[in-house]
Each structure stands twice: as C-alpha cells, then as structure tokens.
C-alpha cells in the first residue's frame, strides 16, 4: 500500500520537517560510540530508543545501525520503539510524568524544550564534550534552553527548506520554468499568476501558516522574542506589512479557500495532487512525492529557499536526547553518539534528502556536486549550501500552544476580521499569556 505508507510518511515528515527540516551526519570521532560516555569497561544492558514515525520507511536503515552497534558492543541490546507523530506529545508527557522516558529519545527542539526546561535531560556540553566540535554549531545550539547553561541533545539530522515547484503548472501560467521564485514578493506574485491561470482547478500556493508563518517573519528580520525569552516581539510594522500582503493574497484567491486552517500535511497532499504549483518545504519531501505521485515528481523543479532582503535562511534540527533518569546512561550516550556519527548520518542522507549535522560529513562531495543532475541532487546541493549559513530561526518557546494562540489571530486577519497590526498585537499578547504560564 504505497500511498498509505506515503501518507503516513507525509504526515510524519510534515511535522518532523516543520520542526527539524534537517538531517545530520552525526560525524563523530567515536565510531564505536563507546568512548564518548564516561565510565570504563565494556558497555552492557538494554537501551530503549524511541523515534518519531520512522517506521516503516526507514526500518531497514535504523535496524541496520542498531545491529552494527550491538555487534560492536555485544553486551548491549537496543530496543527500538517508533511512535507516530500524532499523540507523541501526550505519550512523552505521560512518560516524563511517570519517569519512564526511554534511554534515547528522538526529538526536535520545540518538542524537547518543555522537558529540557524541567532539567530532565543529560547536558551534552559536558557528557558528549568530545564530539561537540564535530557538529554544525547552529545545530548543536538548537538544544540549548534560554537562561540555562548546557545543551541537551546531540543533533541528528538537519533539513533546510528548498522551493519545489510544478513545471507543468508553471507553463500553464506562462511562468519561466527555469526561474522559481526566491523572495517572498516573487512567491506571492508567481502564486497569483498560477491561481489566476488555474481558475479554481489549481492554485499557486498553500499558506501552511502552521509551518511557515513565524519562520517567514524571522527570515525577513522580524525579531520574534526578547533577549530574556519571555516576551514575544513580532508585532512590528514590517511584520504587519508582510501580513497585509498575505491578507491580500487570501482575498485575491491566491490560496485555496479551505487552506486557511490546514497544516503542512494538507499542503503536501495538495502539491502531490497537482492542486498547487509551489511547495516551499524540506527537500526530504521529494522522496515522498516520488513515492506517492511519480508524475508530479517528474514535473517538479527545485530552487533555493525563499528568503527576505537579508538572505537569512532557516534550518530544522532533529536530535537525540538522553534522560537523566536513564538507568543505562553510559550505554545510552554511546548509542546516541553512534547513531548520530558521521558514517551513519551520511548513510541516512543517502536514503532520504536530509543533511548530516556533522560538519565533516557535509563537506562530502555527495552534497556539493550536482551528481546525476537529478532534482534530488540539486535539492541536496542547494540545501547543503544553505546549511552553512542557516540558523534554527524559530525559538524553542514557539511550542504547539504558542503556535495555536498566534495562528488563531493570523487566521482571523486573513479573513479580514482583524487588521494586520491588531492581529499581530493580539497574537503577541496571546503568546505572552501562554509563555507566562
């Protein structure tokens, strides 16, 4: 059932992508993983490893790495648990409350932060100090908590958004198929041209507010949060001007009507169905599009990430965290650093278009050359180039509850029920209220 698998993957990666959009080759100098943890003697015991919806697409890869680790450390048995993204927060909350978090947890910074804030995880700055220098600094930094020393996760994989577009629909709209948009204004202009050409049968863009709104503000230099990490600050005139453009686009029919409250998974579905022409998203989605909609994949071109005037680009990070409560912390640390080492991350990046978080692995010609000239190779090169200067732009405080409070106001603005400035002011107030509690 390829389409069903695909859908699950889309759902998984949609969220993962929005949170992590990055894959890293945890290129560590410690290929056995054993020496990075403190303590002496061979490792032993059981390590439970929890991932976010990697089954079934990546079962073979993950089981392969686990098998290799167990071979190198015969005393250790790794028990892999994969949980669906839906309900992951609830499960993590329950596990954290009951003190039964797995020994190694795969999380993105936004998911990890409430737990990190409670001091539940091992500080990797000291526990994995030996390998810290191997990782892309921005990725390592993603697991720090404002106002708290240390960093609580080993970056695993990274993604950096690219702009995918349907060349067939571009042709129908009279747009240059070799020239995807690169700025927000271009994106809206091309989106408008596409929607006008589609006359309701296809549209230019999906707003996917849940995935992009706050990131897009950050890319345009809008400050999101104050230095203390307590007060939101994105109600600036620049942000209001940008929101006004989105309002105009929604009113002008650039977006599908029902898209207002839809998330990134619906955007992915719409692109795969040929209903939208532009799809700014993690390059890992190319794999999914290929699986679910081969014809759309054939027509897909890829361009660099949409940026503002300063060219700021975003990356998303996925990490591996070890709870302090782990009964087998030494083996857990060893396994986490092994999973995220250079070799294993490089192998993962060859299965799906994600990037390694290990600097050395990123220099591999695989990421710098166009290779076979395929769309995947182009996407890989573009996103690898972007990673060098990309940052994780969304603060960890922008968790699900803050996001919901903010988007509620933005949706009302798009409907014309609130003016852009008022909507942003109210969004900031609502976000402050959530963050304060």
């Amino acid at each position: 059932m390829p389409s069903f698998r695909g859908l699950r993957l889309v759902a998984a990666v949609a969220v993962v992508g929005s949170l992590t959009t990055a894959c890293g080759l945890g290129g560590s100098s410690d290929e056995t993983g054993g020496s990075s943890a403190s303590g002496k003697g061979p490792l032993k015991g059981t390590v439970t490893f929890e991932t976010l919806q990697l089954k079934p697409t990546f079962t073979k890869y993950v089981e392969g790495v686990i098998g290799d680790f167990e071979k190198k450390n015969p005393g250790v048995k790794v028990k892999w648990i994969d949980i669906p993204f839906q309900g992951a927060q609830e499960k993590l909350t329950a596990d954290a409350g009951a003190g039964t978090l797995p020994d190694v947890v795969n999380l993105n910074p936004q998911f990890a932060q409430p737990l990190e804030n409670k001091g539940l995880f091992v500080d990797m700055d000291s526990a994995a100090a030996k390998i810290k220098g191997d990782y892309v600094p921005g990725a390592w930094k993603a697991f720090t908590v404002p106002g708290r020393p240390g960093s609580y996760g080993i970056p695993w994989y990274l993604t950096s958004e690219v702009t995918m577009y349907n060349k067939g629909l571009f042709k129908k709209a009279g747009l240059d198929t070799a020239k995807p948009p690169t700025t927000f204004d271009d994106l809206l202009a091309d989106g408008k041209a596409l929607s006008e050409a589609g006359k309701g049968s296809f549209y230019g863009i999906h707003p996917a507010l849940e995935n992009r709104f706050i990131t897009d503000l950050a890319k345009q230099g809008v400050p999101l949060l104050d230095a203390d990490g307590k007060k939101w600050t994105f109600n600036t005139p620049e942000a209001a001007a940008y929101l006004a453009k989105l309002v105009k686009a929604y009113k002008g029919g650039v977006y599908p009507k029902d898209s207002l409250t839809q998330d990134h998974s619906k955007e992915t579905e719409a692109y795969q169905a040929g209903n939208i022409g532009l799809f700014p998203s993690g390059p890992n989605f190319l794999t999914i599009i290929k699986q679910n909609a081969p014809k759309i994949a054939e027509a897909t071109g890829v361009g660099p990430q949409i940026t503002g005037p300063e060219g700021i680009t975003n990356m998303s990070v996925m990490g591996l965290l070890v709870p302090k409560a782990s009964k087998n912390q030494r083996a857990a640390l060893a396994f986490a650093s092994y999973m995220a080492n250079s070799k294993n991350q490089l192998a993962f990046s060859k299965i799906v278009t994600v990037l390694p978080s290990v600097s050395k692995a990123l220099e591999n010609p695989y990421f710098t050359a166009e290779g076979d000239g395929s769309v995947d190779a182009q996407a890989r090169r573009i996103s690898a180039e972007q990673i060098a200067k990309a940052q994780s732009l969304v603060p960890v405080q922008y968790d699900d509850r803050v996001k919901q409070a903010v988007l509620a106001k933005i949706q009302l603005a798009l409907q014309g029920k609130l003016g852009p400035k008022k909507a942003l002011d109210e969004a900031v107030a609502a976000a402050d209220a959530v963050t304060a509690h």
Partner: protein, 292 residues
C-alpha cells in the same frame, strides 16, 4: 438469609466498585485537587486556591467555548428528541424490507467518529459534494465556507451529531413505541381520532418519559461535544478557533507538553457542574410536569 455473612454482598459489588473507584472517583478527586493548583502536565504545581476559577471568569476563550456549547445544546437537543421519533414511526411498520431501512438508519452509529468526520469534511469542503450540488442547482454562486466560517462549521458539526445519533435514539424510541398499548390507539380510532391526533394525544404522552431520557442523554452528549468539531476542522476549531467547544478548550489547555493541568482541571470541574446542573434541571422539570 441469616446464615449469610455481612461481606458477601460486597464481594459481588467489589469488581464494579473497584472499576468505579479506580477510573472515576479517584481521577475525579484528583481533578478537584489539581484545579486548585498551577500544575503542568509534567507534574509539579503549587496550591493557588481559587485562582484558576478567577482566571476562568475573565478567559474569553472559555466563555466563547461555553457560548458555543450552549448553542449546540439549544439547537441539537430538540432535533435529537424529535427527528429520531419521526424516523422510528416510519420504520416501526412491519412491511417487507423494513429491516434494511432500520439498518441503514442505524449504520452511522457504528461508524467511527474519525471516519465520519473525514467523510463530512470532504462533503463540506469548498469544492466538495454539497457545494458542487448547490452551485450546480444555482442555489449559490460562491461556495459556502462550511469549514472556514465558525458558524457554518458549528452548523456542520451539529448536523453530524444529529446524523450520528439518529439511529441510536431511533432504537430507543422503537422500544418505547412497542410498549404503547394497541388497545389505546384502537379506542382512540373508534372515537374518531385521526392519525395525527392519535399520535399527539396517545403516543406522545406515553412516550414522554422516553423523550425526557433522550433529551437528558443528548444534552449530556452535547455538553461534552468534541470529536465532531475537531475532525471537521482538522483539529483547529475553525479560523481563530472560533468554533471551539468546552471540551475542545479543555483538551487544548491541558494536553501536550507544557499543558496547564491545573487550569484545565478547573475547566473540567466547570463542565461537570454545568452538566450536573443540566441533568438536575431536566429531571426537575419532568417531575414537576408529572405532578401537575
């Protein structure tokens, strides 16, 4: 009976009592305690007295949820009391193939709410079947924003609740109708009463207790409505969350990492009191009418 030991009845009661204590009484007590704290879903929390309830009084989202839930109740309960009765009257007749129709009306009851929600959201989307039909018949020129307007979204959710409950309440009414003595109906017929008068003056009075039961069940279900709104709106409760219901807000506040367990517990208690009040009100009204 004299030989029986005092604890024997308790042994029979024990399993049900254990379930009730474990899954209802203890969690309820826990909720009551939590409502007086600022606990998060990750534990912890300090005693804050009635702060949560004071906060509720000024929480716009809470009042919006309450208003939507009340609206749901006022519109859905009368529909759920009357429509299934009419359907039950239709399928009560013993004619060939009636079993098929009964099964058809009952089938939404067994359908999963999530599946039903998906189907309804396809039907009601801007390019869905309902809008295509309305546009095809030139009833509307622009698609109706069933999924992107809070009022339409609530109306869609209400329609879904009625559709989903129709079969269930129909079965309750069928059982009640079977208990209406034929002799009374025949006597009324002999006295010259037509079908409408027989229904109004014989069947309805005899069905009153059942109608009260259905109204109570439907009111409690409406007070707790969540799945319809959640599935139809893809989890968003519409733009700005304007179609939120009480349970939706409780879930949004109290679940997930960093959720406010204390505040959500206070909301849950408010919901409990409202539901209890509603049940008492319906029962009181009923007993007063019976006395009169």
């Amino acid at each position: 009976m004299t030989g029986r030991r005092w604890y024997v009845p308790w042994l029979f009661l024990a399993p049900a009592l254990a379930v009730a204590i474990t899954f209802f009484i203890v969690p309820f007590g826990n909720t009551a305690v939590l409502s007086l704290t600022d606990a998060s879903t990750l534990g912890g929390g300090h005693f804050t007295g009635l702060d949560n309830f004071r906060r509720l009084a000024h929480d716009d989202q809470f009042w919006l949820s309450l208003r939507n839930t009340a609206l749901y109740l006022v519109i859905v309960v009368p529909l759920v009391v009357t429509l299934p009765l009419l359907v039950a009257l239709l399928v009560q007749r013993r004619i060939a193939g009636i079993g098929f129709f009964r099964a058809v009306y009952y089938s939404p009851v067994v359908a999963s709410m999530v599946v039903a929600g998906l189907i309804w959201s396809w039907l009601l989307s801007s390019d869905g079947m309902v809008n295509s039909l309305l546009r095809g018949l030139h009833v509307v020129t622009e698609p109706i924003p069933f999924l992107t307007d809070a009022h339409w979204l609530l109306a869609g959710a209400m329609a879904m609740t009625v559709w989903k409950g129709l079969g269930y309440y129909m079965v309750i009414y069928l059982a009640a109708l079977a208990n209406v003595p034929r002799s009374l109906l025949e006597a009324a017929e002999v006295d010259g009463a037509g079908a409408v008068r027989r229904f109004w003056h014989v069947t309805v009075p005899l069905l009153r207790p059942t109608m009260i039961l259905v109204a109570t069940l439907a009111a409690i279900a409406c007070a707790k409505v969540f799945a319809e709104v959640y599935t139809l709106s893809g989890g968003s409760a519409g733009p700005g969350g304007e179609a939120r219901t009480l349970v939706y807000t409780i879930r949004e506040t109290g679940l997930g990492l960093g959720g406010e367990a204390g505040y959500a517990s206070a909301m849950s208690l408010a919901l409990f009191v409202a539901t209890l009040g509603l049940s008492v009100l319906v029962t009181r009204l009923n007993s007063r009418e019976e006395q009169a």
